[in-house]
């Protein structure tokens, strides 16, 4: 029998349904895997062994009584630590929320629980989702399972690494500027950012409310569709959630997985490639395009001229919204509280003194940097020049997409300009770090859906690269159809999943001994 942790969620769902395995055994296998590799990977901030096993036991009882809560009932999942979980710590990777246990579940978590998925734990992330490497986590970085000296992407590096390292078959990520897709690309996994409003944001601790979107992190396109259908759909608690049914995503995967792309028009975005992109990343991207053409797709080159301003626009809108969102962390009601010491013995700190000291100690440098940027961008006298102007460019970017989708059904580009870089390499150079999201940010600004599918390993470093597929808002089914087709075409080339080529983490200790 194949190791339970290496099987896909769709396969495990069948195995659970047929009684071949139990959820307890499955969950235990993943908890054991976590115990074995977490020392190297550090994908989790909190593992809930007891809770997960209790939920698995309940799932098995439901299965026994013939009333599973959903098709994925009993399949364990990891949740990014930016979603609130009742009774489980939620830190957002920040010291300021250390020890906070939310009294309520995010809607996504409510739906996972209702569907019977045992929650393994909460995954590591850049503090408040600000970063592209998970190095900005206040609790230490996550390591890329392909090369432990490298970053797993970010902000959702924990979720991507957990799935890539077979610690979880499924995970939830959130994507504000690429935080699901870019970690997917650099860890050889699948990441989907749904249409804005497609998945409820209630209980997602906001980074930038107008950009954030939760979505699936998986090892196959089909698994992503199964998970997406489970967490998506309207939620009255989130007024920005879309009040209409999701498209048939699993059906779209079925339509694509044969590898036939006849009649599909693929648009290659001129502005998302070329200079600044690693040669191996571009080579794998071109191969993917060629494969799709061979499978019947038509290819057009499309230009989105406003995309050159996307990064600047993003780094005005995001900090502006974030600066306001993060104001609530003031030590008054929850989280960390630092009471400052005065210079005189009778010093009595005011509420403002406590707020100031707590925020100083509780937030990391990247968070402070963005609060300052955002506060500045919203200041009276600067608002029109910065935030106001950024909103106008955002409209232009949306219009560029509309024009492009007039010529193509989906748009494609490399997901990230490079493969995983070394831990620490860009930590002192925020702008270099920001450039990693160049290709993913436009989709967030326009609210459209996107998927990252592994495109192969770059020749120069042997590390995974990803191809991004974008579709118009509400047409999430298109990214699944084309994503599934590309996945099939590439696997035919590779003779199996890309992750089969990842180094075996279990072997690492022996390797270490050998080199010592």
């Amino acid at each position: 029998m194949i190791d339970l942790t290496r099987r896909t969620a769709a396969d495990l769902a069948d195995a659970l349904a047929s009684g071949e395995i139990t959820s307890v055994a499955l969950t235990e296998a993943h908890l054991d895997r976590i115990a074995a590799v977490e020392g190297d990977v550090h994908a989790f901030l909190h593992v809930d062994r007891e809770g997960a096993l209790a939920q698995a036991a309940e799932s098995d009882r439901r299965r026994e009584s013939g009333s599973p809560a959903s098709g994925l009932d009993g399949i364990p999942i990891a949740v990014k630590d930016v979603l609130t979980t009742r009774g489980l710590p939620t830190t957002c990777g920040s010291k300021i929320l250390e020890g906070w246990v939310p009294p309520y579940d995010a809607t996504v978590v409510t739906r996972l629980r209702a569907a019977g998925l045992p929650i393994l734990g909460k995954t590591n992330m850049d503090e408040f989702a600000m970063g592209s490497s998970t190095e900005h986590s206040a609790y230490g970085p996550t390591h890329n399972p392909w090369d432990l000296d490298r970053i797993p992407g970010g902000s959702g590096g924990g979720s991507a690494a957990a799935v890539a390292a077979f610690e979880a078959p499924l995970a939830i990520g959130t994507d504000t500027g690429g935080s699901i897709r870019q970690p997917g690309a650099v860890t050889g996994t699948i990441g989907v950012k749904p249409t804005y409003g497609g998945v409820s944001r209630y209980g997602l601790v906001a980074l930038a409310n107008s950009l954030d979107q939760a979505g699936p992190v998986t090892r196959t396109v089909l698994d992503a569709a199964l998970l997406h259908e489970l967490i998506g759909g309207h939620d009255p608690l989130d007024s920005t959630s879309i009040d209409q049914p999701l498209p048939d995503l699993v059906g779209a995967v079925r339509a694509g997985e044969g590898g036939d792309l006849s009649g599909v028009r693929i648009g290659v975005v001129t502005e998302l490639g070329g200079e600044g992109y690693q040669s191996g990343v571009l080579a794998r991207f071109q191969e993917s395009v060629d494969l799709m053409v061979k499978a019947g797709a038509g290819v057009v080159e499309v230009s989105c001229p406003s995309f050159v301003h996307a990064l600047a626009t993003y780094y005005l809108i995001l900090p502006a919204e974030a600066s306001s969102n993060l104001a609530k962390f003031d030590a008054m009601r929850y989280g960390m509280r630092v009471v400052p010491q005065g210079s005189t013995p009778d010093f009595r700190p005011s509420a403002e003194d406590v707020m100031r000291a707590t925020r100083d100690a509780g937030f990391g440098d990247e968070v402070k940097r963005r609060i300052i940027l955002g506060t500045y961008a919203l200041s009276s006298g600067y608002y029109d020049a910065y935030y106001g102007q950024a909103q106008k460019v955002r409209t232009l970017i949306t219009q560029d997409f509309a024009t492009a989708f007039g010529k193509a059904d989906v748009l494609v580009s490399p997901t990230a300009p490079t493969t995983a870089f070394k831990l620490g390499e860009k930590l002192d150079d925020p702008l270099a770090m920001y450039l990693n999201d160049l290709a993913t940010i436009p989709a967030n600004l326009a609210g459209i859906p996107g998927i990252s599918v592994p495109s192969g390993l770059a020749d120069e470093d042997g590390l995974p690269a990803g191809v991004q597929i974008l579709a118009p808002a509400l047409a999430d089914d298109r990214v699944y159809r084309v994503g599934a087709a590309l996945e099939t075409l590439l696997r035919r080339e590779w003779g199996g999943p890309l992750l089969d080529r990842a180094p075996d983490l279990d072997m690492r200790d022996r390797r270490g001994e050998a080199s010592a």
Binding site: L83, T84, T90, C92, L97, W100, P102, P103, Y104, A106, R201, Y202, G203, L204, V205, A206, A208, N209, S210, P236, L237, D238, S239, T240, A320, E321, S323, S324, A327, K328, F329, D330, M332, R333, Y334, S350, A351, E352, M355, T375, L378, S379, S380, Y383, Y387
Partner: protein
């Protein structure tokens, strides 16, 4: 406390023209809060009506309360406003411990209602107040600062915060600058707030009690040299919690501004606090460009876009136009112009109306609200609307008078009992033993002893000077401790002496 120099009101008016601006916050009374499903009832145990959203917990999101929007639209329509076809909420960012999110969700430059007016009656004449906007926002939590001398956060030993109020829907109604009121400026300000309150009550969208903070007024005032036109630098006076305070605060600020300007000084643009007890304003926070709330559209909420059909449907639910209503009531009640003006001026129109609706005659209702109760309100520095007696209670008292159980004089003691929270009027009459003595034997004995004690007066009556009976009636009433029917006493005296 530094004493301000004031110019006399008359001199201030000789030299300057006042411009008023009123910002009135109305706490709406839908069953739930503005952005979550928590109950909004007043008076619950602290922090029992809270949820992740109104506590500002990480991850929680707002969703707009449709009933609050409906109330806002109805207020806007009643104020003859345009109703926005599309408007958004914004975040007003500032740090304060009783603000859960450290921003207030409020409509900023896209109010739900704008460009309206209200005709205000002042001393029988009509004064039109232009309304700039009515917009929706949420209330903050309520802080209680314990210890220290000022009751303010600075210097307090500790502070308690009740978040039950956080997220209660508010409507802020802002006037355009009110010019040309001249000497009537204080009266216009008061009349506007009073009549706005009546409108709100008639709409049924708020309890609108100033004493409970359901209705809060900020008074903006500036002076410009007489006849020069334009607007001077304004001050914004807060903490004005009664109609009379509105009037007094305007008068005070007019005199204070005038003295400063007349002495060659200039007005500081600032927030001031009204002190009910001393009748003065003191400087609060300086208002300047440093106040930067960094407004931006609330990204967690979709725009509010009321359909025209809905707006028209709501227009159909509006109460009668206030001016027409006043004219109708005056005719129905048979009030003189003066009676009506006094009633409106005291802010008692609604109270009188409700009392009449409860079965009292218009004259009796007016008598209590504009007489006894207005006097008591005045003595305690409050308004009749906040005095703590309801129209139903007044009607009950009057029906006891009508039944001969008590007289007007005894009724005053019943009001004492009501204000002291002693229960219903009937209960108070029983408990305090206030009923009129109808025992003819006891009355007759009292009359006899009064006649015996005042032979001179008795003789005058026997001589036909019936008016002299008053002295004997007074004697008997005193003997009976007021608990007698004066008319019956008079009959008995005249029976015995004529």
């Amino acid at each position: 406390m530094r004493t301000d120099t004031l110019l006399s009101f008359e001199e201030a008016l000789e030299k300057f023209d006042p411009a008023l601006g009123l910002e009135v916050h109305v706490e709406l009374n839908p069953a739930t809060k503005m952005f979550c499903g928590c109950p909004s009832a007043f008076g619950a145990e602290p922090n029992t009506q809270v949820c992740p959203t109104c506590l500002g917990l990480p991850g929680a999101m707002p969703a707009v309360n449709r009933v609050a929007v409906e109330s806002a639209i109805r207020i806007g329509l009643a104020l003859n406003c345009e109703i926005a076809e599309w408007c958004r909420f914004a975040r007003k960012n500032y740090f304060y411990p009783d603000m859960p999110k450290n921003f207030q969700t409020s409509q900023y430059d896209e109010p739900i209602a704008f460009e309206g007016w209200m005709d205000v009656e002042v001393d029988g004449a009509t004064f039109r107040v232009d309304i700039e906007r009515a917009h929706m926002e949420e209330d903050t939590g309520k802080s209680l600062h314990v210890g220290g001398s000022t009751g303010r956060i600075h210097g307090a030993d500790y502070s308690l915060v009740d978040y039950n109020r956080a997220g209660i829907p508010l409507i802020e109604i802002v006037t355009k600058p009110i010019m040309g009121a001249g000497e009537q400026a204080p009266d216009v300000a008061r009349a506007y707030v009073q009549q706005l309150r009546e409108l709100i009550v008639a709409l049924g969208v708020s309890e609108a009690r100033m004493d409970q903070g359901n209705l809060r007024a900020d008074v903006n005032l500036s002076l410009a040299p007489r006849g020069a036109g334009g607007l001077g630098t304004r001050t914004e006076t807060k903490n004005v919690n009664s109609f009379r305070s509105v009037e007094h605060a305007v008068r005070y600020e007019m005199q204070r501004h005038a003295a400063i300007l007349d002495g060659g000084g200039s007005i500081r643009q600032e927030t001031r606090h009204w002190h009910e007890d001393t009748g003065v304003t003191t400087s609060g926070r300086e208002k300047s460009d440093a106040d930067d709330y960094r407004y931006f559209p609330e990204p967690d909420l979709v725009p509010v876009a009321p359909s025209r059909e809905w707006v028209e449907e709501l227009r159909g639910t509006l109460p009668e136009n206030p001016t027409a209503k006043r004219a109708r009531l005056q005719t129905e009640w048979g009030f003189s112009d003066l009676d009506m003006r006094d009633t409106v001026g005291a802010g008692a129109l609604g109270l009188v109306e409700e009392t009449i609706a409860a079965g009292t005659t218009p004259q009796a209702a007016r008598k209590w609200w504009l007489g006894e109760l207005a006097r008591r309100a005045n003595d305690t520095g409050t308004d009749v609307t906040s005095i703590g007696v309801t129209p139903a209670q007044v009607a009950a008292v009057q029906s006891l008078v009508d039944a001969g159980t008590i007289n007007d004089k005894l009724a005053r003691q019943v009001f004492d009992g009501l204000l002291a929270g002693e229960g219903t009027p009937e209960g108070i009459v029983a408990a305090r033993g206030l009923g009129i003595v109808s025992d003819e034997g006891a009355l007759g004995a009292a009359v006899d002893s009064a006649i015996a004690a005042n032979p001179g007066v008795a003789d005058k009556i026997r001589d036909g000077k019936v008016a002299a009976a008053g002295a004997l009636i007074g004697e008997v009433m005193k003997e009976m401790r007021g608990q007698a029917d004066a008319n019956r006493v008079r009959e008995l005296i005249l029976d015995k002496l004529t």
